[in-house]
Assembly symmetry: C2
Homo-oligomer: 177 residues x 2
């Protein structure tokens, strides 16, 4: 059994960047690891789902199913999905048999908008995209995340190390075993 690192946060808060950095770290230690990225998942197992509350829950249910099947087979599952509702993150935690590490990837929305490489916030504000988290759809910040990364003042390395330190401290991950 392995563990799940669940990165939640606003669009452009830095989830994917941290996920990729974590992936490289665990790979360099010869550990089995997969990134489950929201954007990729919506092209594969969640094709056809939209962004209504119901569809977002169904998407997270599928992601949780996948994270569980991987982590119970010793593959570290790094999940990078907005997962805006507290209730859906609780559902994910309940569906996963392995240790579950909720990471709040925290950045003020102004910072996220500045980073907006794909111009999604702009489109949402112009009404070209409906149901965009942070603009016309809610984001409920975690109340008791295992780790909080403040990507507006931390480097990617600092954020990544916080998470690695946590899984080591909890005994979920041991090096050179």
């Amino acid at each position: 059994m392995s563990f799940v690192i669940w990165l939640t946060g606003l669009p452009c808060s830095g989830k994917t960047t941290i996920a990729q950095n974590l992936y490289r770290y665990f790979k360099s230690k010869n550990r089995k690891v997969e990134v489950i990225d929201g954007d990729v998942i919506r092209q594969y197992i969640s094709k056809g789902l939209g962004f209504s509350r119901e569809d977002r829950f169904e998407n997270i249910r599928r992601v949780s199913f996948l994270a569980n099947i991987l982590s119970r087979n010793d593959v570290i599952a790094i999940v990078a999905v907005i997962s805006p509702y507290r209730e859906m993150r609780k559902m994910a935690r309940d569906m996963v048999e392995s240790p579950f590490v909720e990471v709040f990837v925290n950045a003020p929305i102004e910072v996220c908008k500045q980073r907006d490489v794909k111009g999604m916030y702009k489109k949402a504000e112009m009404g070209q995209i409906k149901g965009f988290t942070g603009v016309d759809d809610p984001y409920e910040p975690p109340e008791n995340p295992e780790v909080e990364c403040r990507t507006y003042i931390e480097t990617v390395e600092q954020s990544t190390n916080k998470i690695i330190d946590f899984v080591k401290r909890m005994g979920y991950y041991k090096e050179d075993v």
Copy 2:
């Protein structure tokens, strides 16, 4: 890297029984293994998909995605899905990076109907279920499967052993390594 055992055949041809038997075998050898069963998948990652040709392809695409992510992480993926079209089984083979073992679970439709524990064939023949493989939806038998199990004359053990012998002979699976 591990391998994928892809069991294809008519409803009630014996796919799930063989899958479960294979699962027990590999578990007893302390190997990581998962069964991806069509009926279970449709409750999880394929909820909402129907049985049109298009939806069946999308379902198999998701199953293949899952089988690939498991097998590339050393988990033996045993897939038990009708997968009625040759073209969709080819798609599955192309999507999987690991060795792909197509197993034709072969039983004449009369035998499958006799086994019809859930009464599905009866419902299909009475028109209560539409698009049921073998009744009003096609099944294209594999032309060159890696293994053929004739479940109408073989015991489950004989069928299972054929598959195990094949993966051993090909070097996909070695015991006591």
